[in-house]
Amino acid sequence: MREGRHLARPSSLPWHRGTLLPCTAVPGATLSVRKMNRAENDAYWGSTDTAPPTLDNFFDEDCEVTWTGITAEFSKFPQSGPSKTTPDGNSSSSGSIVDNITVHSVSDWNYVEVKEGRSSTSSSSSQSVSGVGKAIGDKLESWKPPSVSIKWNSSQGSGPCVQCAAKDTEIVQLKKRLENSYSRYNLTLPPDDTINRIILGQPYSLESYRSLEDKLALLDTALSTMDGSAILATILHLKNTVKKTIFTTEMQARQQACTLYTNYLRKRHKYSEAIEFLRSLGKPEEAAILSYELALTGKTPEARIKNMEKSLETHFVFSSVSFEAKMVKSHMKLLERQMAIDEVDSKDQTNSMLLKYPRAANVVDKSLLTTLFYCCMYHWEAGEGHVGSPLALRKAHDLTDRELLWTALKGRARVNHWPLPSELDSWLGSKGLLGALGSLSSAFGSSGKILPKGIKATLPIEAVVHTLHGSGAPSNVLAVYIDLLDNVESRLKLAHNYKCHQAVIDIVKWKN
């Protein structure tokens, strides 16, 4: 088989030694076979990675390429059993993905019948192979494939011909099928014909497309129809029959095919192959993302961290993915911290919060903000040196004040603690938070009227009050937050809404 692929320029190949057997019996056939010294062959192919994965095929053995030759080949099948096995005993596992018909499998014939029943209109190929069909017709009388004989025998067993018409149809169908199966090795149908057969669910074969030109024509025809089934079949045919560099070059020119093929590899969990393919196409960004996806499939957090490290080193090296690289690093850092926190907390018998509010779940693999929420719940008081300290987390990851404040409010509320704005402010430290949550309100007491403009720039106070109320905050706490609002009317409205009577009184008093 592999010899056959290079027929286009046989004389230029150093290992060319075999004889070319031109195909004489069938008009239009493109197949010929040479023989070559196996040792030479192995030496050549073994040394390179360009060898297509499956090259074993029917014609590695000596054979005459004539109709009788083919028949001789077929006659070997009964011994080889129902699975697809090549005459020399090597089963081709990944190479023959595109084959749809096999002559020797009984159940296969059942399938073929189902298909025939549905698409009852005449298949286009039967016209184009009619010349061959005539020749085969005579042969058919003297030779039947095993499955056909089984069928005939079993139906004859049921007695005299009662349903002759049905049987005639069956015979016609089987004949047609047989003709098609002959033609698979000997005749190249026009590409659109084959592609239409794939789309319409009729039996087809890609074996006969041997020249690169034919294969590409087939692929391009498939691409023009956009049917994923046909495109993938032709891609895999190309991939299995040409060397990698050719495959990559040709795919590069066909972006739609690349997307489909990459996703096919992904779904087959052939990540490394997909990543390598994307890189060879010159798409390092997509390769990087895919390598990250692969890294995440690691079973343990340790394995995932290790994978990410590797993927950062090999794939996230381009400036175009610098942002993504930063995120992956942050993910690793977070996972490490989560594991450390879990290590400490799972053994901790002294932390009263852990005893009072038993942990619902392990913090490992949670998002950054969920981790912060967890830390605010259990390690609110912890110093920055503690691994679970919210402030340490803030320092390690660039958290915005908005993220910090919202999460702290919710996390503390979960343990029935509602920090006042002043408390949050000192927690965050004065730096940069002057405008955050009423840092001045403490200085001016609850009547803090001179508020910096930045308050509302960070959190929408109405939403904060709503959230606090939802979490069961007492009304005196709500009053302090309501007081942060500039607008007196909305302050009054909120105070009414959330039944903060003292706040209402204060506002009315202040108004007058």
Binding site: P82, S83, S93, I97, V98, T102, S105, V106, S107, Y111, V114, S119, T121, N196, I198, I199, G201, T225, M226, D227, G228, S229, A233, L236, T259, L260, K267, R268, G282, P284, E286, I289, Y292, E293, L296, F318, S319, S320, F323, E324, M327, V328, S330, H331, D365, K366, S367, L368, L369, D398, L399, T400, R402, E403, L405, W406, T407, A457, P460, A463
Partner: protein, 553 residues
């Protein structure tokens, strides 16, 4: 079980116990499902060599199914069948193929094989109702459907094709021609039901509080229920008042019964009472559903709507939108809600600056987990998200040095400039999707399809179909030209002059899922244009389903 089936199982990793000599797998042509199936067969084979396995692939036996089975050594050991269900009628005017993964398969993963199944289903309709003379298709998937349809037509007998057409127009659109519609909050009653409870294949599962019992109950939603038929397409704001009026009518009728003579009463009980009672039950159900939706909408629902509509019309201030979005992220609102708004923001701004994108993206990851780096990448592949100042100088190791020369810098600068005639805003302007804000819109008795979004936006499909149907005969060049602003190419077919075109009936097909909002807009269009419109799609969809379909699991 009927048809001699002992037991049905959901396909899971662990194979079900072997209880009979035959087993049938009913699967979609998905590689992951197939692998599971193959593992089942392998693990059962040793203990039960006699087990005969049938595989029914829905809707089509594609090349990788046989390929994978062959690799697994199972080709020939299993009996393969295919079953194409064609369109499933969810209602008199709504057909679905229930191919819920089509959007992801086609637009994200580049597998348009589902188009063949859509074409087959349309071909079946053409077999029944004749060849459709006018065809307008836009987008990649739509083109694939038209191509396959031509192929199938050639296979049909000429008798079928010469049949008098009963459908005059066929419109096929890709979902990516209008991402804005599914991203916006749905405001029709049916849309709101879908957003809140989820409508699956025309059936909603109401929680116990809505049906007034302890357990949830499934309720089919279609035009057979006349009360539902009257409210489904109404703007949510006008539904409860309608229901209350109706409920009062029913009560009034019941009260009339108090003063009836014996014979009148007999007649009333025999004929009317039953209908009144079911009527009453339905009204109560929908009133409770309305109540439940109103209660569960977010506290800042109004801000959300103002933000969404402001983004579309261009009225809102980008800074305020960012702030709103950042607050949503910091509060860890549901992932799909946050991503919907993020995408809408990006789309309506014709892409975000790198700075904005990175800032918001890192906050998405902080709130929902770093693994969503993959989700964000998916959204970018789909063009739902985009960051301008394209980082296309891909192998960017040498990027900094190359940009020192003037040409490189020039190229960088020009790539920053907005491309003329591209992007969503240009398309919206060209297709006039944003109605005149000064023109008042009646939400209760709508006359324009834009009522579905409070008059802020007209779904692309409703707009194009309405333009196309307003002209008798072939599609105008103006219309075809205006479609050029949408991603993808347009294909149109018109019958030979003089050939019969049939009555004014349109089949509108959406590739990648249709929202109930669009269905409502098209139903209004059917009334205003005097056309019967049948809507078909690969499945019904809402914003959450659209987004969660491409979220990394």
């Amino acid at each position: 079980m009927s048809h001699g089936v002992d037991k049905m199982y959901r396909l899971e990793r662990v194979p079900p116990p072997v209880q009979s000599s035959q087993r049938v797998y009913l699967i979609r042509p998905s590689l992951l499902q197939l692998k599971t199936l193959a593992d089942h067969v392998h693990s059962d084979h040793a203990a039960h060599p006699e087990l005969h396995v049938h595989v029914v692939v829905v809707p089509r036996l594609v090349s990788w199914v046989t390929g994978l089975l062959e690799e697994e050594g199972l080709y020939g050991a299993l009996t393969l069948h295919e079953f194409c269900p064609d369109f499933i009628p969810l209602d008199d005017d709504l057909l679905s193929l229930e191919m819920t993964s089509f959007f992801r398969d086609a637009f994200l993963e580049g597998d348009f094989s589902g188009c063949v199944d859509v074409a087959r289903a349309i071909n079946t309709l053409q077999g029944l109702f004749g060849q459709i003379p006018y065809v307008l298709a836009h987008g990649r998937a739509a083109k694939a459907v038209v191509n396959t349809l031509d192929l199938l037509n050639n296979q049909n007998s000429p008798k079928k094709t010469s049949q008098m057409p009963e459908i005059s127009h066929l419109f096929i659109f890709d979902r990516d021609a209008d991402y804005v519609t599914p991203l916006l909050t749905q405001l029709t009653y049916e849309g709101a039901l879908d957003d809140h409870f989820g409508i699956n294949a025309g059936v909603v599962e109401f929680p116990g509080e809505v049906v007034g019992q302890d357990t949830p109950r499934k309720v089919p939603l279609n035009s057979k229920d006349t009360i539902y038929d009257n409210i489904r397409n109404k703007h949510f704001a006008s539904v409860s008042s309608y229901l209350i009026t109706k409920a009062k009518e029913v009560n009034a009728k019941k009260e009339q019964a108090q003063n009836m003579t014996a014979s009148q009463m007999k007649d009333f009980v025999a004929n009317e009472l039953r209908t009144l009672q079911t009527c009453h039950a339905t009204l109560a159900l929908h009133l409770r559903a309305c109540e439940s939706i109103t209660k569960s909408v977010k506290q800042d629902f109004e801000t959300q709507l103002t933000t969404e509509h402001g983004l579309v019309t261009g009225a809102s201030n980008a800074g305020q939108v960012r702030k709103f979005l950042k607050n949503c992220l910091a509060r860890m609102q549901p992932l799909t809600d946050n991503l919907r708004l993020f995408c809408l923001y990006s789309l309506t701004q014709d892409g975000l600056s790198q700075k904005d994108y990175k800032e918001l993206a890192s906050q998405v990851l902080a709130a929902h987990g770093h693994k969503h780096l993959i989700t964000l990448n998916n959204l970018r592949q789909l063009n739902l998200l985009s960051a301008t100042e394209s980082s296309t100088s891909s192998t960017g190791v040498n990027r900094d040095s190359s940009s020192t020369n003037i040409q490189g810098r020039l190229a960088q600068v020009t790539s920053l400039l907005p491309k003329k005639g591209q992007g969503w805003r240009a398309a919206a302007k060209r297709l006039r999707l944003i109605p005149d804000p000064d023109k008042a819109i009646d939400l209760h008795n709508p006359s324009e399809p834009s009522y579905v979004f409070n008059g802020a936006y007209t779904p692309v499909m409703a707009k194009v179909v309405s333009e196309a149907l307003s002209v008798r005969g072939a599609f105008t060049q103006t219309l075809l030209d205006s479609l050029k602003v949408l991603p993808g190419t347009t294909t149109s077919q018109a019958p030979a002059p003089g050939s019969p075109v049939g009555p004014h009936v349109a089949l509108v097909v959406m590739m990648g899922g249709i929202t109930y909002t669009e269905v409502a807009a098209l139903r209004l269009l059917a009334v205003t244009s005097g056309t019967r419109i049948i809507v078909a799609s690969t499945s019904t969809i809402n914003g959450d389903q659209l987004i969660s379909g491409v979220v990394h699991k």
